[in-house]
């Protein structure tokens, strides 16, 4: 939760490309929600149907999206920031690999594997330390979650 970003650091570019992208993002979310809410009965105010709230919220979201987009087009603002695809790919990749391997092979494989993949996200990773830490931490979590807390998480599972 520790956000220490300073807004408006490199502002005063010509257009708020960040706001333009942000508005388009909201519009896309709103459009897909409207599309899926269409099939739900709206009901009446006296007896609201399941579709009433999703539909009104989606429309409101779309309106706000247009608002943010217009602000971006008219006012100078923050530029669109570059995405770090390395962090994104390996951090999310490590979570996905954990999800796919924990049932199949158990924590003893999923633990170190996901930590190693996660390590690739940071160029400063010291591999020797990370590998040792991965083994110790997996052992520790087996002791904590399985032995001490008896959570039903698979430990060793080779089919």
């Amino acid at each position: 939760m520790s956000q220490s970003s300073q807004p408006g650091e490199e502002s005063a570019s010509k257009r708020g490309t960040q706001d333009i992208a942000a508005g388009l993002f909201l519009l896309a979310v709103a459009a897909s929600a409207v599309f899926h809410a269409l099939e739900l009965p709206l009901g009446s105010l006296r007896a609201m149907g399941p579709g009433m709230l999703p539909m009104s919220l989606a429309v409101l979201l779309g309106a706000l999206g247009i608002g943010v987009l217009v602000i971006g087009l008219l006012q100078p603002g923050d530029p669109f920031e570059k995405w770090s695809f390395r962090g994104l790919a390996f951090v999310l990749g490590s979570i996905i690999v954990f999800a796919l391997t924990v049932r199949l092979f158990g924590l003893i494989v999923a633990g170190p594997l996901s930590m190693i993949i996660a390590g690739m996200a940071d160029p400063q990773t010291n591999w020797k330390h990370t590998l040792i830490f991965a083994v110790i931490l997996t052992a520790f979590s087996i002791l904590l979650f399985k032995v001490a807390l008896r959570l039903p998480i698979p430990i060793i599972n080779f089919m």
């Binding site: 939760m1 520790s2 956000q3 300073q6 807004p7 960040q18 706001d19 992208a21 942000a22 993002f25 929600a33 899926h36 809410a37 739900l40 009446s44 105010l45 006296r46 007896a47 609201m48 399941p50 709230l53 999703p54 919220l57 409101l60 706000l64 999206g65 943010v68 602000i71 923050d78 669109f80 920031e81 995405w83 962090g87 994104l88 951090v91 999310l92 979570i95 996905i96 954990f98 999800a99 796919l100 924990v102 049932r103 924590l107 999923a110 996901s114 930590m115 190693i116 390590g119 996200a121 400063q124 010291n126 330390h129 830490f133 931490l137 979590s141 979650f145 807390l149 008896r150 039903p152």
Partner: protein
């Protein structure tokens, strides 16, 4: 008064049992740990530890989780003072003067006054909760659906007003959160809504999954992007006990900070975050020599530290009395309570007096423990700060994965967190602040329920919200707040508060 003493006696009786003492200590310890470490917040930690509480009774579980939350407030200031980066969002202001004091060789005094200020604030806040708890629950009993709905609207408006950055974007996040809360099976008709044909979504989005993805994982990716230079104070920490002169200088700021923090903390919509800012601004305004601020003024540490701790604790009041979580951490508390079959709301105090008063008493005990954990053990935390982030985040990721998996023994939950991690990262990149989204999501289900009930009672007329006096009053407050936030002059100073 007599009843209050009886209640507190019951509370201390519960909290002082050996098991609850141990859980309280554990919570405070973990809280300090994650508070000290930048980049690990209480939201991710509590979400991660939820499954651990399955085996504990609800009172013990909540005592531990609460300890993590206010423990993190103490720990966050240690990092702020020694490393010049806030360990927690609420210790942003402490960095300004705390680190300057450390540079001048007064790190120990800064740490000491922060802990003492937090302790005093914690004690006062505990009394405030105990005193306000019962009357507010009685008030809440009188609330109908319309009043509940309006109260939550007010909470969301506060969250918008307090959010950083542009107002339309903050409102959009609230609406997106509300929209996300409608995903899943409709409670009244059993119809599936916005599930996109995914069977796992028919129960809706799990709060822990959303919070972990948007706050935990997205933050990690974000942190990896800007490698931080940790500049741990190398010199001596110096004596921990402030001198008598320091103390005399700080006592008034501590008192004012406690008051401000406690009041702001009660407000629904995460007012607690604003406490330290408000306190710092106030101290600077009334100081004889404002230029001292930013150069190691002890008042600039004492006031905000008291404010953040008081706010962290009084934030429990809306949760315990009304069943409305004012921020994301409290929302996780709701999750922890429902896991144990306790429905948060005004009935908790009558149905589970042990839980209610035990938790309050444990907060005071916890504050005492934190004083001990933080001051003499500060060397330990300094060493911990030297662990590089490149080693830390894979461990956080693994624990988060295990935690999320264990909540429902579900691998699809883990995959959903990865998805929300992506969403959270995108939101950061688009300049959206995710906190209001989470609050909207948390309040969404309850709001829809109350809205429907209110409209059934009023036969479809929205006038019910303005015809009932309490509801109208709450909406009026919300409208005034929003109007004030929209005024250009206020907007400017609001931005200043957040960038300072």
């Amino acid at each position: 008064m007599e009843q209050l003493i009886d209640n507190l006696a019951l509370g201390f009786g519960t909290a002082l049992s050996l098991k609850n003492l141990a859980l309280c200590f554990l919570g405070c310890m973990v809280g300090t740990l994650i508070g000290v470490l930048p980049g690990v917040g209480p939201i991710a930690t509590i979400a991660m530890l939820l499954p651990i509480t399955f085996g504990i009774d609800p009172t013990g579980a909540l005592i531990m989780l609460a300890g993590i939350y206010y423990g993190a407030q103490y720990g966050g200031s240690t990092t702020a003072i020694l490393v010049n980066i806030p360990g927690e969002a609420t210790s942003v202001v402490t960095v300004l003067d705390g680190h300057q004091m450390a540079r001048q060789g007064r790190a120990g005094v800064a740490l000491g006054i922060a802990a003492i200020g937090s302790f005093i604030a914690g004690c006062v806040a505990t009394v405030v909760i105990a005193a306000l708890g019962e009357p507010l629950t009685k008030l809440a009993m009188l609330f109908g659906p319309a009043e509940y709905f309006s109260l939550m609207v007010m909470g969301l408006v506060f969250a918008v007003v307090l959010a950083r950055g542009s107002l339309p974007k903050a409102i959009a996040m609230i609406v997106l959160g509300l929209l996300l809360s409608t995903v899943g099976t409709d409670l009244e008709t059993g119809q599936e809504r916005l599930t996109f044909g995914v069977a796992e979504l028919s129960d809706g989005v799990d709060f822990a999954v959303l919070a972990m993805g948007i706050f935990g994982f997205a933050e990690i990716i974000r942190n990896l992007e800007n490698p931080e230079a940790r500049d741990v104070v190398r010199g001596k920490i110096g004596p921990l006990l402030p001198s008598w002169a320091d103390f005399k200088q700080s006592i008034a700021p501590i008192a004012r900070g406690t008051g401000l923090g406690a009041i702001l903390g009660i407000l629904p919509g995460n007012g607690a975050v604003l406490g330290p800012f408000a306190s710092y601004t106030l101290e600077k305004k009334i100081a004889k020599d404002p230029s001292r601020f930013g150069r190691g003024a002890i008042e600039g540490v004492a006031g905000p530290e008291a404010a953040n701790n008081a706010g962290a604790q009084t934030a429990f009041i809306p949760l315990l009395t009304l069943g409305i979580p004012p921020n994301a951490v409290m929302a996780l508390m709701v999750g922890a309570m429902t896991i144990h079959g306790i429905i948060p709301g005004p009935q908790v105090v009558t149905k589970n007096p042990q839980l209610f008063w035990g938790m309050i008493a444990s907060m005071w005990i916890g504050n005492l423990m934190l004083l001990i954990i933080n001051l003499p053990l500060v060397g330990l935390w300094v060493r911990l700060l030297k662990v590089p982030y490149s080693l830390l985040y894979p461990a956080i990721l693994l624990f988060c994965c295990i935690g999320i998996y264990s909540i429902n023994n579900s691998t699809s939950d883990v995959l959903f967190t990865a998805f929300f991690g992506l969403v959270g990262y995108a939101l950061i990149k688009f300049g959206y602040e995710p906190a209001p989204l989470l609050l909207g999501f948390v309040l969404g289900k309850l709001m829809e329920e109350k809205l429907r009930q209110a409209l059934i009672l009023s036969r479809g007329s929205f006038m019910t919200f303005v015809e009932r006096p309490v509801s109208a009053g709450l909406l009026l407050v919300a409208a005034v707040m929003l109007a004030i936030a929209l005024l250009p002059s206020i907007r400017k100073s609001r931005d200043e508060v957040f960038t300072e």
